[in-house]
Structure formats: C-alpha cells, structure tokens
Symmetry: C2
C-alpha cells in the first residue's frame, strides 16, 4: 500500500509537471491579453476553499440561450478559478448558485417582492446570500434571463477581485437603456480611426463561418453590461442593406443574441438612392418612405431583435435632410417612422458642421438642434459627442446637454484614441468620460449634470443611452494594448452607471486584469488617473485643441494653416500670434459662451476657472496675462507641456517598479509602449514649444529646456502610413 | 506516513485537476491553429519513456543567438512533449542531446570526417545516435550554428511524429541556397492577394515595439528551412528605403536573425526617382548608380546580413529598364552591382507582359529573356513563376526553365490562393508545386526536371533558390485556415528538397498538426492529395485558365469580354465559340509550343497527353472532338466540372467521418470551410457549364445536371468587398 501510494504521488506529480510544462510551452501566447478582464486565473488559498463552498453546483431554471450562456460562463469562471467546474443540477444543495426569474421559478416569483425585483427592471439583478429549501445558497434573481447573465458576471467578478461572496445582498440595475459600442468598421474590414488591426467582423466569410471570437467579444461586452453593437462605420456603406449582407448580419446577430446584445446599423441618409433603388433620397418622396419601411421590415424579418439605426447626416460630406432643405428632425422622423412599428430606435448624430458655414464650428450643432427641441419622434435619440469639437484631450461639455429638454439626448464618447496617441499612449479614458458626466449643465440649476441629462432623470425621459466609439480590432489583445482594454471596460461601467467613480472602475479593472494586490492596484490606479491629465498637458494644455497633424491626426501640427477650410486648420483653434493666444468665445468673440446656461457661462468667463483648464478654449489672452498660479500664460504653457512629459516619465518609472509583479509578456509590451509614449510626449512638447515660441517671441523661463531641433525640423516630418485612415468606399467615395 | 502520503496524493491530484481546469478555461483559444505544426503536445506512453531517456539534458557548445534559439526550441519542445524541460549542462551524460560545430567543439572537429560534415555544407546537419565520453547521446552536428538549429527542429519533428530516436544516423542538407518567403505586404499593412488578415509586420510600431509574434513566425520558418523573407509587396513602395523605415527593418531583422533568416526588400526599379532624390531612374545615369550604391551601403550598415532585393520591372505598370530602352539584364545588372560588394543578391522577376504587346501573353517572358541568357551578373537570379501565365489551378511549366543555361534560374510559386478559392478552399498546394518540380524540360534530354534546373545541377549553378508568395497574415491561424498551413509547410520542405514527395510531406504535416494515428493520417492525406485535382476540375478543367472574376479574381467569369486589353479577358484564354474551345498554341496558332524543347513540344502536341490535362491550353478543338476517355470534349468538360464538385463532397464526407478524432474547434472550422467550398465549387461548375453550353449549344449528357439558374443570373453577381485587393499606394499609385 505504502509503495503504491508513493508511486501514485510520483505519477500524479509527474502529470502536474507535465501539465505545467505544457502550459509554459503554450504559455508564449498565454499572456497576450486575449482574455481581457475575464481571466479566471486560479485562486490561491486561503480564498479558494470559502469560494469553493459557495460554488458547489449550479441550479438554473430555464434553458433559454441566454440562461445557457450564463451557466456556461459560471462554469468557465469557476473551473478556471477554483479548478473544478460546478455540476449543473436541478436539486438545490449547500453552496449552490441558483439562477431564476419569476417566470422560470415559482420560488423566485414568491420572493419577488422581498427581493425587490421591481427595482431591477428588465436588465437588473439581485445577488443574494440566502437559504433555499434550508440550504445556504447564492441566489441570482432577475426579471429576465439577461439579468441573470449580468448577475452571473457580477458573481464571477467578485471572485476574480478577491471580494467576499458571503452575506451578499447586492441590487443593481443599469441607469441607461441603450449601452452601445459603435464600431466604425468598413465592409472591406478597415476601421476608420482604428488602431488595433482590422475589424473583428469577418463579413466575407459570414454567414458560412462564425468566428469563435464573436462569442468572446459578446462575453466581454455582456460582462460590463453593453447591450448594443453598431457594426459599421458612421460614414456608412449601403452594402449592409443588401439582402446578402443582411443574411450575414443575421448570422452575427445570432451569436450576439444569447449575450443580450442587439445589433444596430449605421445607414446613409440617402441609402435607397445610393443603392439606385429610388430616384431621390428626399424623405418626403413616397417611394423613399416605402423603401425604408420595406427595408426595415426585411431587417426585422431576418433579425427580430434588431436594435435600429445610427445616422450621420449633413456632416463631413455625408448626405442629409439639408440636401432637401429639411430640418434634422424632419429627416430623422421619416426613418424613425419605419423603425417605430418594430420597436427600433434611431440614433441621430448631432456632430454637424457645414462646409459653407462661417460660424464658429463649436456653435454650429447647437444652432442647428436647439430650435428643433420637441420635434423629434419618440424613438429618436440625438447622439451628442462629449464636447462640441471632436474628442480632443479636453473639451468643455457640449452645450446641447440639457438644452433639449423635450428630446432624448444620448452621449457619445470615443474609446479609440484618434486624438490621444493611437494604440501606444497610456491614457485612461474613464477619467475623461467621467469628467463630462459630472459636468453641471445648470439646465435646472445646480446638480443638472450630464449624467442626469442622459439618464433621463432631469427631464423625465425613459429612452436613454450612451454610445462608445469602439477601440476593438483583431489585434490579439483586442484594443492595441493592455491598458486600452481599461477604456472599453470603463465605458461599459459608466454606461451602466454614469455616476460611477472612475477611480473605483480603474481599481476593479486592475484587480481583474493584473492583480488584487494593493501593491499593484495602488500604483497602477494612480498611474491611470494621472495619465489623462498628462496627455492634456503634453498635447493641448490650458484649453488648446485641434493642433494635430492633418488627416491622420498623429503628432503635433500647430503650425498648419494651409488647408482649404478655415476650421480644418490648427491655427483657427489657437489664434496664436505676437499679441497672445486663444480663441475668443466670449461676447467680444464668437460668443460660444452664450450656448451654455447663464451660470455656466458666467463661471467659464473666468480665465482661471478649474485651474485654467478651459482658458484658451474661451479666451484670447496676451502672453503676459498672469494666472492664479502666478505664472504668465507663456510660462504656464511651457510649464504644462514639460509637466506632461515628466508625468509620462513618472508613469514609466511606476511601471518599471512593478516588473517583479507582472508577467514578462505584458510587462515588456507596456514598457515598450511607455517608451514610445515618452518619446512622443517629448516630441509634442518640443514641437509645440518651438512653434508657440515663434509666435510669442518670448524667452523660455529658467529651467525650461529649449527644443532640441528648430521648428522647421518638426514641420518637416511626414507620416504617410499612419494607421486608422479609412479607405474610400468604392461605391460611395467618402473618405474623411 | 501513510496518511500524509494519501493527503499528498489528494493534493497533487487537486492541483492536476486545477491545472487541467485552467487549460480548459484557457482552452477556448488553444485549438485556434496558432501553434501550427509546432504543437509539442504531450506524448503518451509507451513512447514517452524512451524519448525521455534520450532527452535528459542539453549540452550545447557555443552561445551565439542561433545556438540559444536552438536550445530554447529543444527546451520548449521537450518540455511540451515530455513534461520536463531538459536542463542545460556542460557535462555530457547518458541521454544528452549534444550540439556542436567543429568551431565550437574540438570533439566535433575531431569527428568531422567520420560524421561526413563536409557534405552538410553551410546549412546541413548530422543527427546521430553515438557515444560521447562513453555516454549514449544524440549528437546534432553541423558546420554552422544554423545547421544545429535545423538539426534541433528535425530532432523535435521526429518526436512529434512518433518516430524513433534510436540508432539515428541522419544526414541532411538543403538542395537550394535561397529558400525565401515573399510577403506581398504593403506599408499600410494591407496585403496584395492576402486572405489571412493584415500583414504581420507592424511597421507603424517598429522599431519601438517588437511583436512577440515575429519570433513565432521565425520559428515556423526555421523549422522547415526557410532562410529568407522578402517583407514587402513586389508592387513596391519606396518608403522602405527611407532612413526611418530602414531602422524599422533593422529591428525586425534582429528578431529573425537568430533563426537563420535574412531579410530582403522588394524595390521599385526607379526608387531614387520615386523618392525625388534623382532626376531620372535611368540605370546609366551616374547619379542613379551612386544613389543605389549609397542606399545599399546604408542598408548593409543597418543590417549586415541583409539578403538583397527583388524587382518586378516592366510589368503591370511598374517601371523598368524598358522605360530607358534597355534590356532586363542591363537594368538588373546596375542594381546587382550595388549589392555585389556586400554579397547581396538580386532576384529579378521574369513575370513580364507588356501593355502594348499583341503577342500571346504566355510567350512574352520567354521572348524577352531567352536572348539575354548569359548577360545577367553572377549575383542575379531570374525568378520564374511555375507557369507562363499566373498561378492558375494548372499550367504547363514555364518554358524558361532549362532555357537559360547560363543564368541563375529560381522558381516562384504562390502559397496564397489568389486563384484557388481564397482562404476557405481546401487545396493542398504541395501537389501543385511538386508537379512543376517534376516537369521534365528535356533541356539536356530526359531527366532535365525543373527541380534539377533550379537546384543548379543541370547547368552547374551554385546560386539557386525558390520563392513562395506567402499566405501568412495576422489571422490567429496565420494562413486563414488550418489546411492552408500545409502549403507553407510544403513550400519549406520542397525548397529544402525539390525532389521530396508531396504525399510524404502531407503525411508529415498531418502527423504534426493533427495526429500520427494512421486512422487520421491516411484519410487526410488522401483528401489533401485529391484536393488539387478537385480545384482544377471545378474551376479550370482540361487546360482552361484565367476564367475568373475581374480584379478580385473571385468566382467564375468565363463570359467576361469587355476589359480594355485583350489579355485581361477570360474569353481571350478559352476562345469558346460555336466551333469549339481552346487556345491554339500549336504552329497553326500562337505557336507557344515552340518555346519548349522539341521533345516536350512534340509530346504536348498530343491533345490527350497526361489525361488531356493541357488540352485547351495548347489546342483549339471542336466540341465534338473525341478524347481517349471516349467522351467528346463537350461531355468531358461537363463531366470534369461535375467530378470536381463530387470530390469536394467526398472530402467533406471524409472530414465528417473524423469528427471523433479532431478537437471541436478545428473540426468545426474546417467543416464550415468545406461547406463553403462545396457551395462555391457548385457555383463554379454551374456558371461555367451554363456559359460554355451557351457557346457549344449542345445538350448535356444524360445524368449531367443542368445549372439551376440561367447564365444571366451568374453574370449578375457582384462582389464589391472581396478581400485581397491592394489599396493604392498614396505616393506611388500602383494598384495591380
């Protein structure tokens, strides 16, 4: 007996070693970021055993695809973290995870009031430690199967972060109805402003081949509550509306459906004309109206839970109602009318500026939409970017927020770093998104934050939403870097709860992605929170904006002044000259301040408000204007540029200090990217200091380093193959 | 004692279960094809222990990066297959793997003659079971470190395939000097004729970020003996020759170097003019000559082992010596002159047809190059596609093979399936490559095979080579499908030994990729070998060629007759009409037969030669012409189209029968692709039968199914977003 047991030990250990060896052999790819924040790595003792006692089996009522997905995820997660997949059972026992809705379980129905399920709404859930037939269990209860799915992900997330699963009584529900990731993906698989490889949608091989990656994508979205995916570029190709592409889309929708995700399409305003199926795109034309109704019927026949459309109209060359001398509301309502019978929605983008308009670009959307308040159909949302320009490192909030009380307003933010360093700069966008959500519009006095505008509470809307312009591509790590994953994660969390604390979100993400060890979490969260201020400092401090390179938007270009339209040129935005710098948007200038509520306008008229964050956005000031810091604008500008570079160096130092605590693959990738970011931050700083010094003709303050090259050197740099530029659509020709 | 041991067993088993659970959790991605044929999966008993006894430690003399790579690979492979990484040691013991060259090990030097190392040359190796200081060891000996690397891969391959490692005395060396994979990758990361995603070269993030995938790519290449990589499209951008891109290329070369891989660039003939650094591209201009010398010096300074250039000149719009009224040899020799001092080579493509030439397209390259034999510099290779047209499912061999005895001739084959169904069709190209290698040119009488032409033995050349147009992209499985990996593998094997048996290569690949179980190997090899004949049958039977869709080359288009140049149109190639079908290349027609050796021409003048494989390539025959099969040409044509479809059905059946023996992920992907292939084979067959019946106006033989749609339906199909079309180069404008 003894000898056989010793032998058994040896054999078992040999197998362990073999398995570990295999994992190492395979391991070259194991830390490539593919698993995102859903790693489900083994949990060590002492946490292991208490968790195992609370995941002994899974008892799920109902067998819908959504419930099946929830159970599969619990299985995968628990097997990964605890080493044993909990068996499915129909019998409750000690430590069971029990999933049910009032519809699938009479017992859940009986407890519905006690559980407070009414407050969970159609997507929320209750996660409760309770007794069931006398057994201690963890109950995941919801009104719908998708609530069970979200509750299952929450259960697993707590285990991943090392949080207790005892004594749970957790009630949660999303504050927004539509939580949509917008993919600016083209039919040729290129992605406009994508920096993580081609589109994950392999339309060419759909519907015949369903890439398993679609499922992993859906899992990631569902884990953070994203319930909608717009699959294609807002500069839209009409090919998606042809029968063979609808069949492809339907196959994709079938993969996303069990994860509670609805698909949306971006459509050209004049789609039937573009497809040569009508003679006009005029929304008053009966043939056009009939075409849209028939096309929408065809879509819903193929995809019964189709979400609806997104339209970018009258912007950057796209067709729109203006072409027919109609308002945005008239244009939107015609298409919305086709969607309404099916419960579909229309997200109508407010990102409009006219090629012939000489008005300050940041005022044009407000001017166009403000008079239309109350005129949009009930199933239309006006989708508004966080700021009035275009996803700059920092902008004031868009003045339309709170200005359309009789309109469904939704927020659009950009996850892909078009203006923030592409894939390699570590810039945590949770901080940026949260800044606008906390912006007080004063629409109904203090406390009228953008969060309360878009969650509908301010003006009593129930059709609410938030859209994020995706940073996802086929790169193995999905987003071009490990840290860009945090932006996807933060978007989902903030769309679920716009009030959520971005620091807490960062902390949760680090806990799931790297480690729950405070020695890792604390420095990384600090680095992430500092990173957004860093990019503002080294690219566009003091309220500067839009001073990047032309077309690709890569690198500094404050000197650019030769583009056809005035508002395409960086010089239009900074107005730097011998006399000073900044865009006068006070009453003596474009008066964009007037588009904000009086309380806000009054506050922003102070150049020093919020540490002069918005100074040069709203004010043109002499270089010698002295700020609250005690420095002149000129000195403050160069100080902040230098500070941004220093912060990146400090971030790199923080990262280096964690080498022993991070796996080699992710450590070295991020270290390489931080080196690139250091170099590029320095380049931004040096080029901008060189340019603005040419304008100010002032000396650098003591201790401020002179740029190593003359301005002409920075101006001479050319980047012909910068990524993210969309190829022209062969049948449409829109480039942007 | 007993209890503690039982406890230890339980704990050990718990860890096993946890580890296995983790692997399953991670395992969603585990069978995604990333590991290619280098899987290193655990070896079961009874094979395990004998292998383990022959891999107890690694004793490697020398510590060059190449030796380090060899040792790392042995470690990875043995750890994966046997569960324990053999320790590195400087002391030989029983079962050691010993690596040495005469330069690194006096003992290997002493044994060099007995080992026959002279025959191993600069890249060969000896793998020998021998005794060393009295210990039984496996000796990997070579003249150079790269030979050790190749020997190490061979050692591991034997273990992977379950072959014996006892009594080894294996001597091997490559027959060709240059074994190069050509990537048609563009600087924007698109790939001309690529069907496996974007380029794996992330030039944008080079040199700051070295994607770990580069190393895995190099390992795969080295494992099959590939020693050169041309990184960019033959329709070349000159940006690669700018200083910042040379720095990027140098960083990439640094990753490939330890794997014995040299980098090559494709260059525009008029690069200095394109870069606006000279006023002409004329190769006689002193400034142009000086530019090339300086640029090559700059390249070799950055990359001391740079391989050389590939040039596509005077073809499909590319510039070339014709623009300056010079011969191909004059053009080539100028650039070769800049490379020669550094030992660099120039691969000059023979793929030439002029836009103003009315001569039969398949004769033009012969006409242009034949008179130049003997005029090319010693470091020039003329690179010749397998057939005289362009990588069709079947072509006769290119008549230039054997026709340039005083010229270094190398073979170019295409791995990416431009004309063979893109990524989803299972077509094993080892059979295609091997067909041309075994083609007898009769240049010096019988036995003058293409293999002997390109290995230099026929005419006494030492600078030899074979190029494969890569099918590699960022798709997780590298090549767009699991079975496309076999083409990469077969290319390497055939470039190493052009005489190798494609069936044996397929068998080795299956053994390493799926299983060595004959119940898997036999049916899969049968399926692979049948697959090439299937695609010939369902696309272009009986010597048809070039009847595909325009531009994207996807799907059938035999009716196309409206393109600007005659030779762009499918009708140019099949000449089908009421009177018959086929291109008359006998003396009564274009007389392309005259470009072949008389023995070959005589043979090909028989319409029935080789089962009428080349019938319609060389002959125009009446539809009623009766073949050796007993059928008329018309009946034989429809018979073969139908047979091709039937073979694909049979392949799908074979695959389905193996479901229990293949992991679910790879099984379901291939099953989906085979369904796509069935549908597309049927489409090809139906469309071609419909079209040719319109020409022949003959009834279908009994039992031959009529196409389900009228011809007009097939003609109406449009594919705007077919993959693989190169985007225009912004600074050059060549589109192919």
């Amino acid at each position: 007996m003894i000898f056989s047991q010793v032998f058994a030990v040896r054999r078992a250990l040999a197998v362990v070693i073999a398995a570990v060896g295999l994992m190492h052999a395979v391991g070259a790819a194991a830390e490539d970021g593919y698993r995102l924040w859903l790693r489900y790595d083994p949990v060590a003792q002492p946490a292991h055993d208490p968790y195992a006692a609370q995941a002994t089996r899974i008892v799920a009522w109902g067998n819908s695809p959504v419930v099946t997905a929830a159970v599969a995820e619990l299985n995968r997660g628990v097997a990964g973290m605890l080493g044993t997949a909990p068996p499915a059972s129909t019998t409750v026992a000690d430590g069971a995870i029990v999933l049910g809705t009032p519809g699938s379980s009479p017992e859940v129905a009986r407890r519905a009031r006690d559980l407070g399920l009414a407050a969970a709404g159609p997507e929320g859930f209750v996660l409760q430690s309770t007794r069931w037939d006398g057994h201690p269990v963890t109950l995941i209860a919801a009104n719908t199967d998708v609530g069970l799915l979200y509750g299952s992900f929450r259960f697993l997330a707590r285990m991943q972060r090392g949080e207790s699963l005892a004594g749970l009584d957790l009630h949660d529900a999303p504050r927004l109805t539509l939580r949509v990731l917008d993919h600016w993906d083209n039919p040729d698989r290129s992605i406009e402003r994508g920096y993580a490889g081609q589109s994950i949608w392999d339309f060419w091989r759909l519907p015949g081949y369903l890439d398993p990656r679609y499922t992993d994508y859906a899992r990631a979205d569902a884990s953070i509550g994203i319930n909608g995916v717009m699959v294609n570029n807002v500069n839209a190709s009409a090919v998606y509306l042809t029968p063979s592409w609808i069949a492809k889309l339907a196959a994709l929708a079938g993969v996303l459906r069990p994860y509670g995700i609805h698909v949306y399409l971006s459509v050209l305003f004049n789609s039937p004309l573009d497809l040569k199926e009508t003679k006009t795109g005029d929304p008053r034309d009966p043939a056009v109206i009939a075409w849209w109704h028939a096309k929408v019927d065809e879509l819903y026949k193929a995809i019964p839970d189709f979400g609806g459309f997104v339209v970018k109209a009258d912007s950057e060359g796209e067709p729109g109602p203006r072409d027919y001398h109609l308002t945005q509301a008239q244009g939107a309502n015609m298409i919305a009318g086709a969607l309404a019978p099916h419960g579909g929605v229309l997200m109508w983008r407010a990102f409009i500026y006219a090629s012939e308009n000489t008005q300050d670009r940041v005022r044009q959307a407000y001017a166009e939409f403000k008079p239309l308040d109350g005129q949009f159909a009930p199933n239309v949302l006006v989708q508004i970017k966080n700021g009035p320009l275009d996803f700059q490192p920092r902008e004031p909030a868009h003045p339309l927020f709170g200005a359309l009380p009789h309109t469904n307003e939704m927020l659009e933010v950009q996850l892909t770093k078009e203006y923030l360093g592409f894939s390699t700069h570590l810039v945590y966008l949770g901080a940026l998104f949260s800044e606008v959500l906390h912006w007080d519009t004063f629409a109904h006095g203090a406390g009228s934050t953008v969060a309360h505008v878009i969650d509908g509470s301010l003006d009593g809307h129930t059709l609410t939403g938030m859209a994020g312009d995706s940073n996802v591509g086929v790169d193995r790590d999905w987003t071009g870097s490990i840290f860009n994953q945090a932006d996807w994660y933060a978007f989902g969390r903030l769309a679920w709860d716009p009030q959520a604390d971005p620091r807490k979100i960062a902390s949760d993400w680090v806990g799931m992605t790297f480690s729950s060890d405070p020695a890792v979490v604390t420095p990384l969260v600090g680095m992430m929170m500092a990173s957004r201020e860093a990019v503002v400092d080294y690219m566009t401090p003091l309220g500067l904006a839009h001073i990047m390179g032309t077309g690709h938007h890569y690198g500094p270009g404050p000197w650019i002044d030769d583009l056809k339209r005035p508002e395409w040129n960086p010089v239009y935005y900074h107005h730097a000259g011998r006399d000073g710098i900044g865009f006068d948007r006070t009453p003596s200038g474009s008066n964009a301040l007037a588009d904000y509520a009086p309380d806000v306008a009054r506050r922003l008229s102070d150049p020093n408000v919020d540490d002069a964050k918005y100074l040069l956005w709203f004010h043109h000031v002499p270089w010698t204007f002295r700020l609250a810091s005690g420095r002149t604008v000129w000195d403050e500008l160069t100080y902040r540029y230098s500070r941004g570079v220093a912060t990146v160096h400090s971030m790199a130092g923080t990262w280096d200090s964690l080498q022993a605590r991070i796996d080699p693959e992710r450590f070295s990738e991020t270290a390489a990217f931080l080196r690139i970011q250091q170099d590029e931050a320095q380049w931004w700083r040096d080029a901008c200091v060189a340019y603005f010094q040419q304008q100010s003709q002032l000396p650098l303050a003591p201790g401020v380093a002179a740029p190593p090259h003359p301005l002409a050197w920075y101006e001479s740099l050319v980047f012909r193959y910068a990524p993210g530029r969309s190829q022209p659509d062969p049948d449409h020709g829109i480039a942007h």
